[in-house]
Symmetry: C2
Subunit: 204 residues, 2 copies
């Protein structure tokens, strides 16, 4: 089985997929695209993903799966070990809950803060700076909630490393571009960040 | 197995869970909360979901799972028939891709348009009207993409009814509150809307 992933090395969602694949030990051909130049919006790429986003997973027969969560769902089904989305129904539910929380309350506002406050993609969307600023405040508020959570367990969804840790790491590291960093008092989160950053997959 | 769902009958995400459970034929005790009055923000409810959102699924032992997608993941694992998230790895990937697209390009901007343009939750968030207006334009643009897709298959993710249809129906029906409706020329989408609205679960 040979996979191709259309990648953008500095963007946070492609990094999620690279980490997920590295944790699984799955080999992939990576094709780099420059999203600032809009290489992801060429007719050839829009045929692979009409939404014009990266990453995209291409299977050996040319079938394309886009959307980071969907790529992870497919890879988990094809390569179940080690499990990153939970194994029992309850684990799947709890992992899914934290996956969604860090995605919508951290990754989403980090990327919205970036896009709306910097105007990086102003050729393809309408930035609203006041909303970007608000999104940044939402990120800062959620980091305190996550810090409290990290006082309860080693990893975000419980005792095991999961996709929720991958999303949170990629979001927190990317937040540097909008000058948001972990605060001095967020000791639990800093411990977790050190633990997760030390994994080989973090540099995938 | 007895489930309790903390519900808000007029909100779009609780409706997603009601439809999902109705399709599965799973019985549930529903507890209604008034989100405008902030009943979901009481200490008792925040103990069940610190994010203060609905719906919440409570298991017989008191364990709570929040986030609509995570509730659906748990229910699918516990009650696999009929499958609403795909069965083979490829189906899971393709369903997941459309689930995410309709969630992030339709449901999310519909609710953001509502929250930011009406100020409905201004006691608990900072509305940015210019962003609400932009979100509404994003919804209208995505409905044309979805209309083109519905020229290719009976349901959004392919030949079978899935969670993607549930999300899209709940988002499109809720969009009436911001005066967005299917356009005259969106014939494929109108056919799909009629087909899906006729299911018993649509009135759950």
């Amino acid at each position: 089985m040979t996979y191709t992933v259309y990648d953008a090395s500095r963007a946070p969602n492609p990094r999620r997929v690279r980490m997920f694949l590295a944790e699984k030990g799955v080999d992939v051909n990576y094709v780099q695209l420059d999203i600032q130049k809009g290489e992801n919006l060429s007719p050839a790429m829009l045929a692979k993903n009409p939404m014009g986003k990266l990453p995209i997973l291409e299977l050996a027969d040319g079938t394309c799966i886009s959307e980071t969560d969907a790529i992870c769902t497919y890879i988990e089904a094809m390569h179940p070990e080690p499990p990153l989305l939970g194994t029992t129904p309850l684990e799947k539910g709890i992992v899914g809950m934290w996956q969604r929380r860090v995605d919508q309350c951290l990754m989403l506002p980090v990327t919205q803060c970036f896009q709306h406050s910097t105007g990086y993609f102003k050729d393809r969307m309408t930035p609203v700076p006041a909303f970007g600023e608000q999104a940044g405040k939402d990120v800062v508020a959620f980091l305190d909630i996550l810090d409290a959570r990290m006082g309860e367990s080693d990893f975000i969804a419980g005792d095991a490393f999961t996709v929720a840790d991958i999303i949170a790491l990629c979001a927190i590291d990317f937040a540097r571009v909008v000058k948001i960093r972990l605060a001095e008092h967020q000791e639990n989160l800093k411990r977790w960040h050190q633990l997760v950053s030390a994994r080989a997959s973090a540099s995938a």
